[in-house]
């Protein structure tokens, strides 16, 4: 039982990364209806950007963080403006295929530049474990969870109360009306991609500073899809609960059944959700069954 609680805490803490990545995913989907399969790769590349500015250019971790966020924002903007904007109005299948292609390209570039081996990020999180009673929590995880919580909280406040957040919500509920009311829809698309890119980067850096990064991190991060399905594709608040839950479940399953099950399990969740409740736990009833 003691062990179970320890695993649970570790799992919930590692679920924090999913929350950030899922937020990035949902915000893009909500505004522009683009199902972004390149999310994992944006996450992976963001972590590499951090490594580039911090270690390879030797500018320290504060500039590293700023640089990584800036670079990934630029990258996301470039993807949106350069590749997706010209395809606006095409069938959704085409847009999804493009994000899949973009993911493959980004993964390839990361492999070409940084090689296939694991890269360790700077230790920006304290290593010292925390004790609650006699429960041991790895220090990095606890601190990363704190950071993730702060970031996710800040994002949600921004989303809820800022004008830009309102514009995103308006665009997501009815594009034509929003445009008629003077909301710059294309601006909203760009904004959500920039935000999605930055959230992915934050998630990538946190994930990387716990386990190190490889170009394959992006594929692992596809597990975020399970979170998104579980939360409902459009629910910002739901991603919080879903992210922590999937993180918890993954760690428990990994601990008791083995690592191979860990990669497989999120997809079982995905399939089950599609059968039982395709709107997810908190999604809008936008989904149509036929």
């Amino acid at each position: 039982m003691h062990q179970f609680i320890e695993y649970s805490i570790i799992g919930i803490a590692s679920g924090g990364i999913y929350v950030l990545a899922a937020l990035g995913f949902i915000i893009i989907y909500k505004a522009s209806n683009v199902f972004n399969f390149a999310m994992g790769e944006m996450m992976m590349l963001g972590a590499y950007f951090f490594y580039l500015v911090d270690k390879q250019l030797g500018l320290g971790w504060i500039i590293g963080l700023a640089g990584a966020l800036g670079l990934s924002a630029l990258l996301a903007l470039a993807i949106e403006r350069g590749l997706l904007r010209p395809l606006l109005g095409r069938p959704p299948v085409v847009l999804v295929m493009v994000t899949l292609g973009v993911g493959s390209i980004l993964r390839g570039f990361a492999g070409l530049i940084w090689g296939p081996d694991v890269v360790q990020l700077a230790e920006i999180l304290p290593r010292k474990p925390l004790f609650i009673g006699d429960l041991l929590i790895p220090g990095k995880l606890a601190w990363s969870f704190l950071w993730v919580g702060l970031l996710a909280g800040a994002f949600m406040v921004y989303y809820r109360f800022s004008k830009a957040g309102l514009a995103i919500r308006a665009a997501s509920s009815d594009q034509a009306t929003a445009e008629g009311l003077g909301i710059n829809i294309r601006g909203v698309f760009s904004l959500t991609w920039v935000m999605g890119g930055m959230l992915a980067t934050a998630a990538g850096i946190v994930a990387g500073s716990v386990n190190g990064i490889t170009p394959q991190l992006g594929l692992v991060a596809l597990n975020v899809l399970a979170v998104v399905m579980f939360a409902g594709m459009t629910s910002v608040g739901g991603s919080l609960i879903a992210g922590l839950f999937i993180g918890w479940m993954e760690t428990i399953v990994g601990a008791y059944l083995g690592a191979a099950w860990q990669n497989f399990l999120p997809y079982v969740v995905v399939l089950l959700m599609m059968i039982v409740k395709p709107t997810g736990l908190f999604g809008e009833h936008r989904i149509e069954r036929i």
Partner: protein
């Protein structure tokens, strides 16, 4: 986009519809080349020809789903895997002949495809993409972990196959024959009600439903048929390479087939042939170019990421600049510039 009304000039007429006797002559010539060329070429060329044939079958299958059905599948290689394992296991344990194994592989892939399609195709949108991604990972998991049946990571070794007592060349003829049959079947499918229903559902599902088409059934069939083609390709591939391992059926292989469909041209049988040929030869050409450029440096590190960049770049590039793929380029060269799916969704 509306069709341009062209004046009835003789040149336009010839350009639009190449002379049917010329076309027939071309087909006869192609058949002859396919039939006799193993006699004049090296083992390597016959090997590549087999690989191309197998990839053509898989690509046509994916094109039925993605191009004609308008459904995105990103787990195509998993269904090749189902075909390969089922036919391989039938061969090893039951000792059934190759045709039976291939049919078994196709049926198994069809059924597994349907099992993943049923939950995801009932929901509108790109849910099939997620469902097939789930298929990709869960089937890989089964291939790898169910070691007592599949042989785990070491894979399933298959006995040597000798067709017509001709060895490799005999297998080549099997592949060529099957490829031709399946291509003709796919081409003819779109002259029937079923195939046209695929297109109707892709274009406007409501309108299709009003016309009396069962939308879910049609989508399931478009997806299941694609998976069945993949099953045939997988069964052939397993018999050809004589080993089936989980690592032959990863996500990057699925992206490879998707790239083949997009590069060749969606909703075009000829496109699938061109795309599969192009994509099969591309890594070989890449390897050759790299060997010349680098002079034998550490290639393995470079080639995997380069392949990913090229696959992704081809998908994105063709979707942006020539959505009809190589077929579109060819038709444009012949003066027919009608674009596919350029009209906005309502």
């Amino acid at each position: 986009m509306t069709k341009k009304s062209e004046p009835y000039s003789f040149v336009a007429l010839v350009r639009k519809r190449p002379n049917s006797s010329v076309q027939a002559a071309l087909w006869v010539a192609l058949t002859l080349v396919v039939l006799v060329f193993p006699a004049f070429s090296s083992v390597y060329v016959v090997y590549m020809a087999c690989l191309i044939g197998i990839n053509i079958i898989a690509t046509v299958g994916l094109n039925l789903t993605v191009g004609y059905g308008g459904l995105l599948s990103i787990g195509h290689s998993a269904f090749l895997g189902v075909g390969a394992y089922v036919s391989g296991l039938m061969w090893v344990h039951l000792g059934t002949p190759l045709p039976v194994n291939i049919i078994g592989g196709a049926v198994a892939a069809f059924l597994v495809g349907i099992a993943f399609g049923v939950p995801s195709l009932r929901i509108k949108g790109v849910y099939l993409a997620i469902g097939t991604l789930a298929a990709q990972y869960s089937l890989y998991f089964i291939f790898q972990q169910w070691a007592s049946v599949t042989g785990g990571d070491r894979g399933l070794s298959l006995p040597k196959l000798d067709v017509f007592g001709m060895g490799e060349t005999g297998f080549y003829y099997v592949v060529a024959l099957l490829t031709a049959l399946l291509l003709i079947a796919a081409k003819n499918l779109f002259r029937t009600r079923i195939g046209r229903a695929f297109i109707a559902v892709r274009e406007r599902d409501y309108a299709a439903e009003v016309l009396g088409i069962d939308v879910v059934q049609t989508k399931l069939l478009a997806f299941g048929l694609g998976a069945a083609y993949a099953g045939v390709a997988g069964a052939l591939g397993g018999a050809f390479l004589r080993i089936v391992t989980p690592d032959q059926f990863t996500l990057i292989v699925s992206v490879f087939f998707l790239a083949a469909v997009v590069v060749g041209g969606r909703a075009s049988i000829l496109g699938s042939i061109l795309g599969a040929v192009f994509m099969t030869l591309m890594p070989e050409i890449l390897q050759f170019v790299l060997r010349v450029v680098s002079g034998g440096a550490n290639l393995a590190v470079v080639i995997v990421p380069l392949r990913e960049i090229i696959f992704g770049g081809l998908i994105v590039g063709f979707l942006l600049f020539e959505p009809r793929g190589l077929v579109g380029l060819i038709e444009r060269a012949f003066g027919n510039a009608e674009t596919f799916d350029s009209k906005p969704e309502a």
